[in-house]
């Protein structure tokens, strides 16, 4: 009886070990708005083949990506919030911020645009949404990411630029909803609720077929959306794979990959989801 039990335990241990043993991979925490568009799944096999290493991609929001980077649980982070990226590097957690792609944020909403924000600038549109939403919360709704993502940070920045205190907005009323999900699910939610939301262009185009939303506001300096890659600082976390992280940075900014990024989505959506900007901050 004891022998049987011991065999079972041994087999279990071996089985569980065998599903853990594996060559070390490069761990990347990426913003959901890059992942939901399928860009990572498109680039992943090319990187893996070129450098002979497995890419493990954590698809999360910018907030937790920064946390993983600070803790050293990943080797690279790829996010889109310049202010927090610079703070991350200033605090010594990251080596350098390398922009590699950009697009624009859009304010999208129901086709009949009950709040009448079409064509306005982003700050005016938000002001109008606040006024109309307070007056008519059953018909005018806004869904926020509410998850400390890069998109959420941009949303807060627009509210601030429109002279609103963000905490006031959160308590403003039923018209403002915080979803707490990634970009894709937030768009699906806004579509279901006939609501407005702020989205990056890439995810919106990728999800268009599943949504009843249209772009309403797309012009404005503040809507620039830049994706950057940052290697986790090996001085803070010596076990991270800095050489392979730098390989990923080289890969993303290489002319070959930049061309692929610029062409991504054109076949399926009629226009590129991202614009390449190898290593440099894009001009408006």
């Amino acid at each position: 009886m004891g022998v049987v039990a011991l065999t079972v335990v041994a087999v279990t241990a071996i089985v569980s070990l065998s599903i853990t043993a594996r060559a070390p991979s490069l761990k990347v925490a990426t913003t959901s708005s890059l992942y939901d568009t399928g860009l990572w799944e498109y680039l992943e096999p090319r990187f893996e083949e070129r450098y002979g290493v497995k890419l493990d991609i954590l698809c999360v929001s910018t907030g937790i990506a920064l946390e993983y980077g600070k803790r050293g649980d990943v080797d690279v982070i790829v996010i889109h919030d310049k202010a927090r990226e610079e703070q991350f590097i200033a605090e010594g957690y990251g080596v350098d911020r390398i922009p590699f792609a950009y697009n624009y944020f859009l304010i999208v909403g129901p086709p009949d645009d009950p709040a009448g924000i079409k064509g306005l600038g982003p700050e005016e549109a938000f002001k109008k949404l606040m006024e109309e939403g307070l007056g008519n919360p059953r018909e005018i709704k806004f869904v926020s990411r509410g998850d400390e993502s890069g998109t959420h940070a941009k949303e807060k920045a627009i509210w601030e630029a429109a002279d609103f205190d963000y905490e006031t907005i959160r308590k403003a009323g039923d018209w403002y909803a915080e979803g707490g999900r990634g970009m894709g699910p937030t768009l699906l939610m806004a579509s279901e609720m006939n609501a407005y939301t702020l989205t990056d262009m890439g995810t919106f185009l990728a999800y268009k077929g599943k949504l009843d939303l249209v772009p309403l506001v797309g012009e404005g300096r503040i809507l620039l959306n830049v994706y950057s890659v940052i290697a986790v600082n090996p001085e803070k976390h010596p076990h991270t794979r800095i050489e392979m992280a730098n390989n990923l940075i080289d890969f993303l900014t290489s002319s070959e990959t930049q061309k692929l990024i610029g062409a991504y989505g054109v076949g399926d959506y009629g226009m590129p989801l991202f614009m390449p900007c190898a290593g440099a901050e894009p001009e408006q």
């Binding site: 009886m1 004891g2 039990a5 079972v8 335990v9 279990t12 089985v15 569980s16 070990l17 599903i19 853990t20 594996r22 991979s25 761990k27 939901d36 497995k54 493990d56 991609i57 954590l58 698809c59 600070k70 803790r71 050293g72 649980d73 999900r181 990634g182 894709g184 699910p185 699906l188 999800y207 599943k210 976390h237 076990h239």
Partner: protein, 228 residues
């Protein structure tokens, strides 16, 4: 409503065509939850017997705490295991975060209260006289434990079935400590979560149906144990 019907059709198609990615994540779900259930049972079944048949001052309190932990959300366990095994955490050097091992540990913690609590209540039907008789006949502690668990095997196996169900269906812990890496830590539940967030509803429903189908097979197998 048509999504449910289409999900069913897609499920059948994925099973019949032996879709490699589905096979891979189904196999991983079974291995991770099966290992967690087996290892946790090896510890909790004897421990439950021990707790049941001994009197000690805080016994009532301990059983209450165990039963309260039935409601422990999997995402909280995930958070706890994450903080423990994160590089910034006490056991970070082991490099276990974002591996199947961490997921097994998480699920073991998740199902321990269930296994302990339900084993203890399963044994409430076993007469103390059996223990006394066996002891007087010279049985060792190990032999008595096996005897007692065997007497209550129907309810004990039911506890194991319940624990397995809880393990294979949980998603909060698996996502948090596993990372949902394709080809390494992606399991049925985390795949369903990902596909749902992408709006792929038929695929999610199909995966859910397959998961239930797997659970049915495992239950039939474990049921045989109950009958013996």
């Amino acid at each position: 409503m048509s999504e449910i019907w289409e999900g069913l059709i897609k499920a059948v198609y994925l099973i019949v065509s032996l879709d490699p990615e589905v096979l891979e994540i189904a196999g991983r779900s079974l291995r991770i939850s099966g290992t967690a259930c087996l290892l946790a049972s090896l510890v909790c079944l004897p421990l439950g017997a021990l707790i049941h048949f001994h009197q000690f001052p805080v016994k009532r309190v301990l059983i209450n705490v165990i039963q309260a932990l039935f409601s422990l959300p999997s995402v909280i366990i995930g958070l706890f295991i994450f903080v423990l095994f994160s590089r910034a955490g006490p056991l970070g050097e082991l490099g276990i975060l974002f591996t199947p091992t961490a997921m097994i540990i998480g699920q073991m913690v998740l199902i321990t209260p269930i296994l302990l609590g339900l084993t203890i209540s399963a044994l409430s039907g076993v007469a103390k006289e059996i223990v006394d008789t066996a002891t007087s006949l010279g049985a060792s502690g190990f032999q008595i434990t096996l005897l007692v668990l065997g007497e209550a095997r129907y309810a004990v196996v039911a506890a194991v079935i319940m624990a397995f169900g809880r393990a294979i269906s949980e998603v909060g812990c698996a996502l948090m400590v596993g990372g949902n890496f394709k080809g390494f830590t992606r399991v049925m539940t985390t795949a369903i979560s990902l596909e749902t967030s992408k709006g792929e509803l038929e695929l999610s429903l199909a995966l859910g149906i397959i998961l239930l189908f797997l659970a049915l097979i495992v239950n039939i197998a474990l049921h045989r144990l109950q009958q013996r």
